[in-house]
């Protein structure tokens, strides 16, 4: 029987099979935790006198509530609120008490949970990975089944290493052809979400396939898988290949030597068999994708950057356009902006920062515009500084900050003011997501950087073409 990649991983992780009356029990290989969605879970299991079943399969980091304000090496972080500080303390205590590895303040590994998992080689093909965070699908880029869970389920995994789960449906999104120059993975996933709709993939696990996907680097694949939830998908994944193997070789927690070669052989089986059936199939022509920006307050409200704001198709889009301050039929390009945020688990890896820096080099952030560049991890920060990207950003007038989720979720003190328009490389443009009344335009790092220079929504291809012509 031909199986999809998802089915192979799913079937091999059933500790107890699903029945009509009860879901199956899915065994979890890697449990990632952070300070925001874990404290009540630890309390729930401790109140019942339970311990963590497999502490070595859980890995913790500090990212959501942590300050990103620049500080001298060794200096203490200054939190936005006492509550944020006590939340971090609570995770530090919980990890110490239960013997869980923590990439804390003193660790060179700390960073956004979905940046460090892959970076450290914790994330590996064929694994089941969960985290109390909806962007966990990021890890699916490695051919892992990775999805977000709630706090009660975080407790279930801590205590039992298992989750009660019904088998989701499958969807294959095939991207044929290849992306044109100046079009990034972020543009591709925004185009896919616009096609599927914000709930279009609910109940499904998406497998991304096709030539345009195969050509993506690992960091680009992570950007694509990361936003699967924005189409409602339970998870998103991509079959591992040589690109995956090259990325993993030599990573801190990846298998080494003979063990790596053995793992490679296993990983080679992790593909959807020819003839395997999906519950839904969607095809997209890669060469038709353009740099994308969002014009509303839902991630599926996206259009090519050189398009006009659409005519409202119903009350939601009319309200969304009004919220954003865009007029139907008028060009999105040239609409003024106040802040640019480069960061988040979607777009804060080294290649993202390079993409933005290529636009910023020799240019300056428009007067009156604030630009934050927040690397995804300590390792990304070190690597970016080693090649001088920080200097490009600061010379251009941007802020170079400490790693964390920052303005993506705006719960650490980094946020916009009411009415501000923010071009952001993050994943959600929900009303108020980046601060009450803030109007978020989602875009790629290149588009965000070009917009910072222009002080308005801008097409990065024009700046990059001008650079090449010189």
């Amino acid at each position: 029987m031909a199986k999809t990649l998802f089915e192979k991983i799913w079937d091999s992780h059933q500790a107890v099979a699903e029945t009509q009356a009860a879901p199956g029990m899915l065994y979890v290989d890697l449990h990632l935790i952070h300070e925001v969605t874990s404290p009540q879970a630890f309390k729930a299991i401790e109140d019942r006198g339970l311990t963590v079943r497999r502490p070595e399969l859980t890995f913790a980091t500090l990212d959501h509530a942590t300050p990103t304000t620049p500080r001298a090496p060794g200096a203490k972080p200054i939190y936005a609120t006492k509550a944020a500080e006590s939340q971090v303390r609570r995770l530090e205590d919980n990890c110490r008490r239960h013997g869980i590895r923590l990439a804390g303040w003193d660790s060179e590994d700390r960073g956004i949970v979905h940046v460090i998992g892959p970076e450290l080689g914790l994330t590996q093909p064929g694994q089941t990975i969960v985290c109390g965070d909806s962007h966990t699908a990021t890890h699916g880029a490695f051919g892992a089944l990775a999805f977000g869970i709630g706090t009660t389920e975080v407790g279930h995994v801590l205590a039992t290493q298992c989750l009660l789960q019904r088998r989701p449906k499958t969807m294959r999104v095939t991207v044929d052809g290849r992306l044109r120059a100046g079009v990034s993975a972020k543009d591709l996933i925004l185009a896919i979400i616009a096609e599927l709709g914000a709930g279009g993939a609910s109940g499904h696990v998406i497998e991304y396939a096709g030539t345009a996907i195969e050509e993506l680097s690992m960091e680009e694949r992570m950007t694509v898988c990361n936003m699967s939830i924005e189409a409602g998908a339970r998870a998103g994944l991509i079959a591992p290949d040589e690109t995956t193997i090259d990325y993993l070789r030599g990573r801190k927690y990846a298998p080494k030597g003979a063990a790596f070669e053995a793992a490679r052989k296993r990983w080679a089986q992790l593909v959807s068999d020819p003839g395997a059936l999906f519950d839904a199939e969607v095809r997209i022509e890669g060469s038709r994708v353009a740099p994308m920006v969002t014009w509303g307050d839902s991630p599926d409200m996206a259009a090519p950057v050189d398009a006009v704001a659409p005519m409202p198709s119903g009350p939601e889009s009319a309200r969304a356009l009004a919220y954003m301050g865009f007029k139907p039929g008028e060009a999105l390009m040239g609409e003024t902006i106040d802040t640019v945020f480069i960061g988040s688990c979607t777009n804060a890896r080294l290649s993202d920062l390079r993409e933005a820096a290529a636009v910023m080099a020799g240019r300056h952030v428009k007067a009156g515009v604030r630009m934050l560049v927040v690397p995804g991890s300590e390792a990304v920060k070190r690597a970016a500084e080693a090649e001088g990207l920080d200097a490009i950003f600061t010379t251009a007038g941007a802020q170079w900050r400490e790693p964390g989720c920052s303005m993506c979720i705006a719960m650490n003190g980094d946020s916009g003011k009411p009415g501000e328009r923010v071009v952001s490389t993050s994943n959600r443009n929900f009303a108020g997501r980046q601060g009450k009344g803030v109007r978020t335009v989602l875009a790629s790092p290149a588009t965000a950087a070009a917009s910072a220079v222009a002080g308005a929504i801008a097409d990065p291809r024009r700046i990059l073409e001008a650079s090449h012509a010189q």
Binding site: A15, A44, A83, D133, T151, T152, H156
Partner: protein
Amino acid sequence: MRNDAITSVYSQIFTLPDANIDTDQIIPARFLTMTERGALADTCFRDWRFDEDGRANAHPLNTRDRDAVRILVAGDNFGCGSSREHAPWALKDFGFDAVITSRAADIFKSNAAKNGLVVCEVDEASHAALLGRAGEIAEVNVIEQTVTCGPVTASFKLEPFARTCLIEGVDPLGYILAQSDAIAAYEARAR
């Protein structure tokens, strides 16, 4: 450990017809820094209900009688976005025991089921009809899996185990722990 059993909800309905109401609307992220379960009624739909200066505005959510209006009928794809379980916690604390929609987001649905919040996904025609009956009395019957409101009768389908958990107050963690031998056997096989 047992949860409170919930077999039916009988109350007036409150409507929020917009599609894609995400969990950042239900509870903004700045309220997620707590370390305890906490009381979250004041944070529920906070930025819809309160002005800049923290004063409650005229939003109907503020004037509804919390004891009499415990069923929320909401637009399609309700609860999308973040996985925060604080969303169903906040809705329960704010006095909602059931949410009726045409489609709810997966993680939200899973979180709601663990917190005694009944999520009923009904067909589009019934959904549209219910959105037009704000203030009327409805009954959500968890055993029969039906919603009735005046002439409108709609059925919904809960995941069978989630339904059992709701009507019998079964605690899912206890259920998993009871199968510890199967987990150990899996671990032995996978090693």
